[in-house]
Symmetry: C2
Subunit: 415 residues, 2 copies
C-alpha cells in the first residue's frame, strides 16, 4: 500500500465509526475543535507565518498572499463557523419516506453519510477547517489536499483537529491531510476509488476543470461562475443598474459575480446612462460587442470571442446587445456555466419564461446573482456551489453531503 492508500483505508475505516456516531458526539467533537483552535491559535499563526514567509520569498501575488494569511480575527471567524455548523440540524438518520407495502414489508429511506469525501483546494487555510467541520457534522470522514503554499498551516490545523477528535472519543482519522503536496499524489487521490466516495474540488476554474478531466472517483463540480445579467427593454433601468453594479462589483473574485451583461437593444442607451457612472466608480473595464461599442465608444474595448466564456474574477465586464428575451436565453444557455443568471424586467411573462428556460442552478428575477450562497439560501453553511445537475445543484449544505439507504423490516417475506 502507498502512504495515500493507507490514509484512504484509515479514512474508510473511520467512516464506519463516524456514520454510527450520534449528533451529540459529533457536536462535542466540533466544540472540541473550536476550543483547541482558540486555545492553541498561536501555534497555528506561527505555522502560517512560515507559510507566508516562504510565499513572499517565492514572489506570491498580494491577492493570493491575502487568502493565505491567518490573523487572530480570521481564526475567530473560522472558530465561529465551526460552532455554527455544530448548531445546525443533523441530517443523518432522518427517515424521509417510510411506508408499509401491501406485503407487509416496512420500507424506510434513511439519510446516511456519503462516506469518505476528498477535497482538493488551493492555498486557503480556512477551507481546511470549514470543510472538515461540514464533513464531520454530516457524518463523513474527509481527506484534505490543500495547496502546497499552505502546507504548514494545514498540517497544524489537521494536527489540532485530530487531537480534538480523539479527545471527543472519535477516530482522529475522521479528518486527515494529504502530507505530500506533489501533483502525483493529487492525481493518485483522484483515482482512489477503493476508498474515496466523492471528490469535491474547491477553487478556480482551472483547478475544477483539471480535476473533472483527471478524476476517476465521482466528482462534484463546484464554483465555475460565468454569470449573466439580462436587462430587458421593459426593465426598471435604475434597478437594473444597481443590480448589475452589485453583481459585478461587490466582490468580483467570487463565483456568483456577474461576468457579462446582456442588454436589450432598445434599452441600451438609457441603461448605459444609468450604469456607467456606477461602473466608473470601480473603473470597470468593459469589453463590448460591435453594437454596444457604437454606444459606448471609447469607454469600452472590443470584445474577443473568448470574452463570452471568460470568468474574469476581476473588475472586467463583457457587454452584448441582444434583440430580446429569446436571444438572451439562448446566449446564456450556450455561454453560461449553469451557475446564476438574472433577468431585470417589469414584464411578468418574460420573468416566467426566463425562470423556466434558463438552465442554471439559480435563476433570478430582479435580484443580484450575488445571493447564490448557502447562508443566503438558508442552508446555514455550504461546502461549495454545485454547477452540475447530478446529486446536488446550487449551494451544497449538510443535506447535500448525504446519501440514502433503504432499511426494510420483514417478517419472512419472499418474492
Amino acid at each position: 500500500m502507498t502512504p495515500l492508500e493507507q490514509q484512504g483505508a484509515a479514512a474508510k475505516a473511520a467512516s464506519y465509526v463516524l456514520a454510527s456516531a450520534g449528533t451529540e458526539r459529533k457536536n462535542e467533537a466540533l466544540e472540541a475543535i473550536a476550543k483547541v483552535l482558540t486555545e492553541r491559535k498561536k501555534e497555528w499563526l506561527e505555522a502560517n507565518a512560515q507559510d507566508l514567509e516562504a510565499a513572499r520569498t517565492a514572489g506570491m501575488r498580494p491577492a493570493m498572499l491575502d487568502r493565505l494569511t491567518l490573523t487572530e480575527g480570521r481564526i475567530a471567524g473560522i472558530v465561529e463557523g465551526v460552532r455554527q455548523v455544530a448548531s445546525l440540524p443533523d441530517p443523518i438518520g432522518r427517515v424521509d419516506r417510510m411506508e408499509t407495502r401491501p406485503n407487509g414489508l416496512i420500507i424506510g429511506r434513511r439519510r446516511v453519510p456519503l462516506g469518505v469525501i476528498a477535497i482538493i483546494y488551493e492555498a486557503r487555510p480556512n477551507v481546511t477547517v470549514d470543510a472538515a467541520a461540514l464533513c464531520l457534522k454530516s457524518g463523513n470522514t474527509c481527506i484534505l489536499r490543500g495547496g502546497k503554499e499552505a502546507i504548514r498551516s494545514n498540517r497544524k490545523a489537521a494536527e489540532l483537529m485530530r487531537a480534538a477528535l480523539a479527545a471527543a472519543g472519535l477516530p482522529g482519522d475522521c479528518v486527515s491531510l494529504v502530507q505530500d503536496t506533489s501533483r502525483e499524489t493529487a492525481n493518485e487521490l483522484m483515482h482512489l476509488d477503493a476508498y474515496v466516495d466523492v471528490l469535491i474540488p474547491r477553487g478556480g476554474a482551472g483547478l475544477i476543470r483539471a480535476v473533472v478531466k483527471e478524476a476517476g472517483v465521482p466528482v462534484i463540480r463546484t464554483g465555475e461562475g460565468v454569470c449573466h445579467v439580462y436587462i430587458d427593454d421593459e426593465a426598471d433601468l435604475d434597478m437594473g443598474a444597481q443590480i448589475l453594479f452589485n453583481a459585478k462589483c461587490s466582490r468580483p473574485s467570487v463565483c456568483n459575480a456577474a461576468e457579462c451583461v446582456l442588454v436589450h437593444r432598445d434599452a441600451a442607451e438609457g441603461f448605459f446612462r444609468k450604469a456607467l457612472p456606477l461602473l466608473d466608480r470601480k473603473g470597470v473595464e468593459l469589453r463590448a460587442d460591435p453594437a454596444a461599442l457604437e454606444i459606448l465608444g471609447t469607454r469600452a474595448l472590443p470584445a474577443q470571442d473568448s470574452d463570452w466564456d471568460a470568468e474574469y474574477g476581476d473588475y472586467i465586464l463583457a457587454v452584448k446587445l441582444v434583440d430580446g428575451l429569446e436571444e438572451a436565453v439562448a446566449f446564456i444557455n450556450r455561454h453560461g456555466t449553469g451557475h446564476s443568471e438574472a433577468i431585470i424586467t417589469k414584464n411578468y411573462f418574460k420573468a416566467q419564461r426566463f425562470l423556466n428556460e434558463v438552465d442554471a442552478a439559480a435563476v433570478y428575477v430582479n435580484a443580484s446573482t450575488r445571493f447564490t450562497d448557502g447562508g443566503e439560501f438558508g442552508l446555514g453553511a455550504e461546502i461549495g456551489i454545485s454547477t452540475q445537475k447530478m446529486h446536488a445543484r446550487g449551494p451544497m449544505g449538510l443535506e447535500e453531503l448525504t446519501s440514502c439507504k433503504y432499511v426494510i423490516y420483514g417478517e419472512g417475506q419472499i418474492r
Copy 2:
C-alpha cells in the same frame, strides 16, 4: 461535427423543448407510443426476427437469445409498461422547498429534468422502450445505445417512437438511437460531455465496470449485485432457509439475487439441514469455505478467493461460516457491491446493528433481497438500481431522473 455530435446537439436542443412541455403533452406522447407499438407491432416483430436469425447464425447462447426475443405477449407487456409510466405522477415542476428570506427574496427549489440521458445497454429490445418512456415522462431526452445484436429491433422501435413523438407535437429527437454500434462510437458517447448530462449503463457487471472506467461524462452505476444473506445463530432457521432459497433461486440472473450465504458457526448444521433440500431442488452448486466444507462434505466444492466477489447470476452459491454479526458485517462491507443485504435473526439488537452498520442501498431484516425493485418499493417503475451513493441510491424511479433549480423572485435586492 461527427454524426454522434450532431445527434447529441439535436438531443440537447430537444431537451429544452421537452423540459418546458407540460404533463399532458408528455402523457399524450406516451399514449401515442403505446398506440403505434401496438398497431405496428408486426413491423417490430419482423425486425426482431431478422435480429434473431442473425444471432442464431452467430451462435448466440439460448439465455441471450431469449432476452433478445420479442413476442406479441412481450410487446403487450412493454406497451402496458409505457401506459403505466404515463399514469405515474410527474415529478417535474414541483417546488419542494420555498421560503421568503429576511431580505424579502422568495426562493424556491424546483424539480427540473437532468437534460440529456445516455443509456448504454445490452441486446434487450424492451429496454429501448422502457428507458425512453421513463426519460420522456421525467422530461429528459435520451440517446440510446443498445447491443449490436438488437440493432434492427431497436431501429424499428426508435423509428416508431419518434413518429409518435412528432404526432404528439414533441420533437422526434426526444428519443434517438445510436445507429452505429461500434465500440468506437460507444466510447465517443461516453465522452460527449458537451451534450450528455448523465450516462446510465444497464447490463452485466462487465459492461458497468467498462463504462465507469472509460466514461468522461457523469455515470450512475447500476445493477452490480453481489448480495449476501446472513443467517444468525438466533435466526428462525425455517424462515432463513425459505428466504435464502428465494433470494438465490427465484431468478438467479438478476442483480438482487443472493450470491453468498454467511452462516453463524453455531447455526450451521441445523441451517444446512433445512436449506439443502430446497437448494437441491434447483441443483444449486455450493462453493464453501473450509469450515462449511466440513459440514457440507461432498455436497460442496471448495471456494476460491474469487468466489467471494463473484456475481454468478446462476444457480451457484458461495457459503461461508462466521463467528457472529461483527464478522458478517465486515465481510459484507468488504465484498458486497452495496446493493442488497439481509440478516435473518430473532434478536432485535442484532437486527438494528445490521441495518445501521451494513453499507448498502437496501438492508433487510428477515426478508429476501429480491424485493429491491422500483415496483416493490412503490416507485412505480425504475430505470435501474443505483449502487453508488451520489445522486441516487437503490431503485431509480422518475424522481431520481431529476435535478433541481433554484428560482428566485426579487424586487431589486442587492447584497
